[in-house]
Symmetry: C2
Subunit: 647 residues, 2 copies
């Protein structure tokens, strides 16, 4: 008998049920049920990340090249391409789950020590950057413990003015703001706490606000979150606002990827029905999950998290605040706000102290956001007298060129491949991710994973190593194609063309072989080509060349290390003296934290955003030529890469 509605039970691994109409696709049903399934193409059936296993029931699926024969036999389907025609039980395999990954203990220790992602390793040819501490301490939220004099018949100043008077004895603040919520509580609070209170002061747009008042001395409990909101990855860092200590860092894939893998597809999606709402909630869920995981790990009360500083590209900042991003992609490409005032985190849906503050690092333009401002600040690019280039490799690849006198930026659509997204066995740089690859001339393959865990997939730096090794060992050609003749145990024909096996499943922490496919290589080649071309054009516009660059910073979520030599080998980076390069890790997150901790840094960030100019690549005709030339390993013109040519 045909029913109008069916029950889907998702096992992820706990069971979640939802009633749906006949013919509903599994991906949208999962979203509606609050079950998170990876997806980066927005349901087009292209990315192949939303694989689920049908355990029971009648599901009709469009055929997909993303499902191997073996997988099909096991019941795998793409959730976005499958509609329900009976009650069904669906298993969401670990690889398809959008989960908050835990950073390994070892990495955590490292991060706590350094406060940054970057770390030198024996094979890292770049310099490492130690967290700078050049800005005066002055966090977005500060606490003051006050022992107020109790009122008497000769001192009858009101409760609020008593509080102001005590604050001004310690700090010179002419204008103090207070909301009604706090005023309502003062009378009882002061008397019940015997006039001993802790006041939380927040910096809000040129004035100081009494954010909240608590009984007793809670001045030691003052924490903040630095956030980097990337198109593909969301990272958060818990810091002690009093001591500047970095306590923990967590990252997760941006749940918005379910609705589109790049900013343009998300802006399009935002205009559809509840699209903006969904995108907003997706990233807020991410942020809340990260914050919750951070405070649970450190056993901190969520109410003691008083401030959040957020760095993200302009579209991410709009979606975070639920501001319509429509006009970002309409000529003349104008955003609603690059400088966003400080608001209450709760206004955006972020769960910390209900009166805690949310600040966004100011952006430069529609396509160069606060993440780049933060990155420039973190690298000190705006303070150096050396000609410096910063490349931030993300879904949008942004490039900044300049020094203390001027700053120019541009952005290129690089795609999420180097973040481990949109590639077959890609994953973020967390425990179990392959981050180093060595292939012997005989084809013997060794991998090193983050946290020395059993391999689960490949992160950005692993792909760079892998590409360089495959290229140098002659397994792929300059165009990125496998030579058909070289088939062996590792080089084989897969469902999507030829592929190379890095780890067989018996040695892996997943039930498939970890491979890099020809399609993956094509994807990675486009990413590196876009970034190289953009850097190249930016220099040309300023009548400069790569040889004029004295310092070169590489930022991005590749992993905890990046082998500069190999990045040059594949043509992601130009062939310069290796000592000029520094891998700075997630510079956006580092900058975000610095701005959270210092109003001096905040001022400098504002100056950077105002000072930096933006070059729109889409109107540069030479860009496409440069891009096509860069779609080779390392480049069409080998003379640009003398050290690679020599090898």
């Amino acid at each position: 008998m045909d029913k109008a509605t069916y029950t889907i039970t998702f096992f992820h691994p706990q069971a979640t049920q939802i009633e749906v109409n006949k013919g509903r696709d599994l991906l949208s049903a999962a979203v509606a049920a609050g079950v998170h399934i990876n997806s980066s193409c927005g349901g087009d059936g292209v990315c192949g990340r939303c694989k689920v296993i049908i355990k029971k029931g009648d599901v009709q699926s469009e055929p997909s090249g993303r499902i191997s024969m073996l997988e099909r036999q096991k019941g795998y389907v793409l959730a976005c391409q499958s509609t329900v025609h009976s009650d069904v039980d669906v298993e969401v395999p670990a690889a398809s789950r959008l989960e908050l990954d835990k950073i390994s203990e070892q990495d955590l220790k490292l991060l706590r020590l350094k406060g940054i992602y970057s770390e030198a390793s024996d094979i890292d040819k770049g310099k490492r950057i130690i967290a700078k501490d050049i800005f005066a301490h002055g966090p977005l939220a500060t606490k003051l413990y006050l022992e107020l004099p109790a009122p008497s018949l000769t001192d009858t100043v009101s409760d609020l003015e008593r509080l102001y008077r005590a604050i001004r004895k310690i700090k010179d603040i002419p204008i103090i703001q207070t909301g009604l919520t706090n005023i309502k509580r003062l009378g009882r609070l002061f008397r019940e706490s015997n006039w001993k209170v802790t006041v939380l002061l927040g910096k809000r747009n040129g004035t100081v606000e009494i954010v909240s008042v608590e009984p007793g001395d809670t001045s030691q409990r003052n924490f903040g979150i630095g956030l980097d909101i990337g198109t593909t990855t969301v990272s958060g860092q818990l810091v002690n606002l009093n001591t500047k200590e970095v306590l923990a860092t967590k990252a997760t894939y941006n749940k918005q990827a379910t609705f589109g893998s790049d900013v343009i597809s998300r802006i399009v999606y935002a205009a559809e029905g509840e699209g903006l709402e969904k995108l907003h909630h997706a990233v807020i869920d991410n942020i809340n999950a990260i914050i919750e995981a951070l405070v649970q790990e450190l056993k901190i009360n969520l109410n003691d998290v008083n401030a959040v500083m957020c760095a993200g590209n302009t579209t991410m900042a709009h979606l975070l605040l639920r501001v319509d991003p429509t006009f970002i992609r309409k000529e003349p490409y104008v955003s609603t706000a690059n400088f966003v005032p400080v608001i209450r985190a709760a206004e955006a849906g972020i769960k910390i102290n209900p009166r805690g503050l949310l600040s966004c690092v100011p952006g430069v333009s529609t396509y160069v956001g606060g993440d780049i401002t933060a990155g420039v600040l973190a690298c000190g690019l705006n303070r150096t007298d050396k000609m410096t280039m910063l490349i931030d490799v993300g879904t949008n690849g942004e490039i900044v060129l300049g020094n203390q006198d001027w700053l120019v930026s541009c952005a290129a659509s690089a795609g999420p491949a180097f973040e481990g997204s949109g590639v077959k066995c890609g994953m973020r740089a967390t425990a179990g991710a392959i981050q180093r690859v060595a292939i012997s001339p005989g084809g013997e393959t060794k991998v090193v994973t983050i946290g020395q865990a059993k391999p689960k997939g490949i992160c950005g730096s692993g792909y760079i190593d892998c590409l360089a090794e495959l290229f140098q060992k002659g397994i792929i050609d300059r165009n990125g194609k496998f030579s058909r003749e070289k088939l062996d145990a590792r080089i084989r024909m897969g469902e999507e063309g030829q592929e190379f096996v890095l780890v067989f499943k018996q040695d892996a922490d997943c039930d498939y072989d970890i491979v890099i496919t020809e399609a993956d290589i094509e994807n990675l080649k486009r990413s590196k080509g876009a970034i190289y071309a953009a850097s190249s054009i930016l220099l040309k516009k300023l009548n400069l060349g790569f040889s004029d660059i004295e310092q070169f910073y590489i930022a991005g979520g590749f992993g905890t290390y990046l082998d500069i030599d190999k990045a040059v080998t594949i043509g992601l980076l130009p062939d310069l003296q290796r000592k000029k390069f520094s891998f700075v890790g997630n510079s956006s997150l580092i900058g975000s934290r610095e701005i959270l901790l210092s109003s001096e840094a905040k001022k400098e960030a504002e100056a950077i955003a105002k000072k930096m100019t933006y070059l729109e690549l889409s109107v540069e005709h030479a860009y496409m030529d440069e891009y096509v030339s860069a779609l080779f390993f390392p480049h069409t013109d080998l003379s640009k890469f003398p050290s690679v040519k020599t090898k």
Copy 2:
């Protein structure tokens, strides 16, 4: 058959029904039903203002001296003293209704012309004060119409910064605040309005905020409300913020009177269960009713009312904002806030433009509030080199003494009699209120009402005239007692002792004779005694006497005129040269409006509140002696009133 619940139908005059449990009292049932019945004793059966007529059904009432025999025959009961024992129909007579009184056309014209309540009349011996205009125009909320340049590929500054840039072209505002709500709307708003918008700027605690942004040119529509929130009377004035024009004024009794007639009984009530909530909602209902009536009369859209300035005593300010007033009456008598930051009116429940602002005139101390600050400002007491006294006759009688160099204040509990509350036929100074009374030696009585309407009751100035006439014609003695022998048609024995008939019901706009009773006289005597004693003590504390006063301002809601001679005759005012006196009407409302219209005036109000010192009378032993001496007409010591003695 006994039912658990009964239906009460209130006719006021439209019918409103409510289901109640057996035994519920009619006053609380009326409050629950949203039917407003006057009450000033808080349900103690003392004030007699909550008279209703039982038309049908079984009601059990406690006997009350406030109900005359005749009234009892007609079915009158006190709502607070009556419980229901069947379904009942209850008529709320006009005199018991808490209604927003309309000020007569003539008075309105006057108010529009002068912007103030005061007006000279042929029998007014005081000077009149014309609305001053000494402060630079700079209202709490201003509007700017902007034609923004549309963005282009060479001008891609974001929407928000585009708005800031345009504002800063016109006004030098370094820090502009904006909330997320406005930012969210900008993108679409700018494009749909073709970049022509009106921005509403508000002054908030030392910074300027973009309150709202509207499409097109709405700059001409910018209105504000000046409020005086008295313990007994709430008054509001609608002004054009652009032109400073006063458009209309309305007043009503404070609905909080249902829960207690003075601030102390309300503070006590606030601590009981939902007491604070009820008191807060009562005054907010008053304010919203006044504002709605004002905008309806002037055919103004409520959304174009952008700012409210409120002056009230400290307890009223606390209750307005729903701030617990408990500690005001606990030693050492400290309020929660005398300087309240500007908030959004909606935060307090006031219905204007949802993003419009609410500001409170700063207060001096627990018992001298923003109404007195506003009054001092309105009279220019803080700017004069003459020794000046301001007496504000309200439920709390406040007195200020000083000049440009110093200001001292005190407060005395005077009761609401001069506001027409707590007296048998009292009413506010609106159309139909007797404001002038003349009694010929033969006992012939003439009355003049506000608006020349048929008399309905007696307002403050009417009572002063009446007392002076009764005393001068020997109908009452110096102690305020009727001589028992003098009974005639007008002087008769009433239910509450002797009474004097001012108007027989056939000539009145009510179905009873308009009388002044011995109890009323006792009440009024105490009011005038408290105020005279307080002024006297304040002077003594400063080693001064009444003869040192060069200017004397009398403020209060007596009516549109006050006969100074008669106020001296009864001993409310000291016996000084009449030219020293000025009746200033509702100086709190005038000051509130001035502060609403000028940030210069606001600064001056802050300076006044900081400068003024406060004398606590309750700790002055001499006060009680002075008070007892003043409980005579005009005073125990006739030598203090030579002009009265002569007559």
